[in-house]
Amino acid sequence: MSQSLSRSIAIAGVAESDLGKVPGKSALELQAQAAHAALGEAGLSLKDVDAVFAHTDDRFSSLQVAEYLGITPRYVDSTNVGGMSNIVHIRHAMNAIASGMCSVALITYGSTQLSDGSRKSGAVAADSPSTARGQFILPYGHLSPIGYYAMVAQLHMHRYGTTPKDLAEVAVAARRWAQLNPKAYRREPTSIDEVMASPLMADPLRQRDCCLVTDGGGALVVVSAERARALRSKPVYVQGIAETYAHHYTPFNTDDWLDTGVAATAQAAFDMAGVTREDMDVVQIYDHFTIGVLQSLEELGFCKRGESGAFVADGALAPGGRFPINTSGGGLSYGHPGMFGIFLVIEAVRQLRGECGGRQIADAQLALCHAPGLVFSGNTTMILGV
């Protein structure tokens, strides 16, 4: 992407909906709730929105959301590439705004998967039996996504000597951040021992190595940098952003499952932003599974390959630690309604605005959000600045 688009757009509004167990609301209603709140932050209304970006369980997500909100947009995008999708939408909105195809982009996500009980055992709806996944994955009873990440964890432990305790550090740090976030779903104290005593799901991953299953939704409002400066909220600029892809659900041609394209994606985002990883004040890494955080820390270059276990030891990722990350409590303790990308952005924006109270990172100027999609199928990295 052209360097000139760096800081060409800003995030002018962010909000989550009710989060946790929300039995009385539909996924669409949660998105609408978040959309109203996000637009309100910016001092904008639904009438100002001329582009809708969404991914839900509906195949035509953006139209579903637009119709519900009473918007007749001139640009839509329902790209669904898993948990990273809403960050990808920001990149696509950047291009659409730069080329004059829209001016106020509303990006939403929502799910009621806790109340639906739709993914209680990590299973997803069966693919058609004639697809590659249907023929060569599903007959073997492979769980998705946990089975893939369990295999990644097994490989990491084998190659580098990483331990279950290293994984548990990530879960405990997330909980300690959640205790500082009134909106987090799971806030009760926990310990390394407790995480390591939770039931095995897919060896070596235990229940507490896995993200929560919650209801919830979120919304972002994206406008041109110029317009953002005239709005009510403090603009948070998109300084660098990149996306790359490797596969769908059959990573048979991915040579090394511990080298999943994160590094190149992040480098493209750093290059666009004109900053380095050492400049980051706030880091939000998609924590669908504890191993995912270790893998991303290494591939992002925050520590050397194979050294993430030592890097996260002794509460390094927790409040007051050497490398505090995922300050909302993350997918592991704040909430995880199926797709978490939008919530990484919401927290990063709030940190850069200085709104995070007891969990605020002092003088936060630059934030990194990183998310994979599906089963290390794609990556997106975004650098935000004020």
Binding site: Y140, M151, Q154, W257
Partner: protein
């Protein structure tokens, strides 16, 4: 005995049929590209590495090692629930192909990355067998 009705089973296409027909006869075949020597899995009408449409079927050695694996403590479907706990592995074959299979006829505690394994066929019905792997 739970029926296979509750088990997700492959529905071959014209292009993948040779793989499944061979498996039903107890043979493991992969596609091989005569132009770039790439062994390809899963089957396609062309070589995904060089684009050649001269791709051919060739018999595989049936030998490989465990690239990585997991032991499932939760089942992906009702049928697999009867097999808990069960191992799912990515096997790297001697042709360089990565493929998924259950590791069968094995003490699950004895599995390790790099473990030599060899193909074995799980007969589902007259027309269908699933390639599986067991310790070599």
């Amino acid at each position: 005995m739970m029926t296979n009705l509750q088990r997700p089973l492959p529905q071959p296409t014209d292009i993948t049929q040779p793989y499944w027909s061979a498996a039903a006869k107890g043979q493991l075949v992969y596609q091989h590209c005569p132009d770039c020597q790439h062994w390809q899995f899963y089957p396609r009408a062309f070589c995904v590495r060089c684009g050649s449409d001269a791709i051919q079927w060739g018999e595989a050695s049936g030998e490989g090692v465990i690239y990585t694996f997991t032991i499932n403590r939760r089942a992906a479907n009702a049928f697999m629930k009867t097999r808990l706990p069960y191992a799912v592995a990515m096997v790297q074959t001697s042709e360089g192909v990565k493929t998924m299979a259950n590791i069968v006829n094995a003490d699950l505690d004895s599995l390790y990355i790099g473990m030599p394994v060899r193909v074995v066929f799980e007969q589902i019905n007259d027309d269908l067998a699933l390639p599986q792997f067991q310790p070599a």
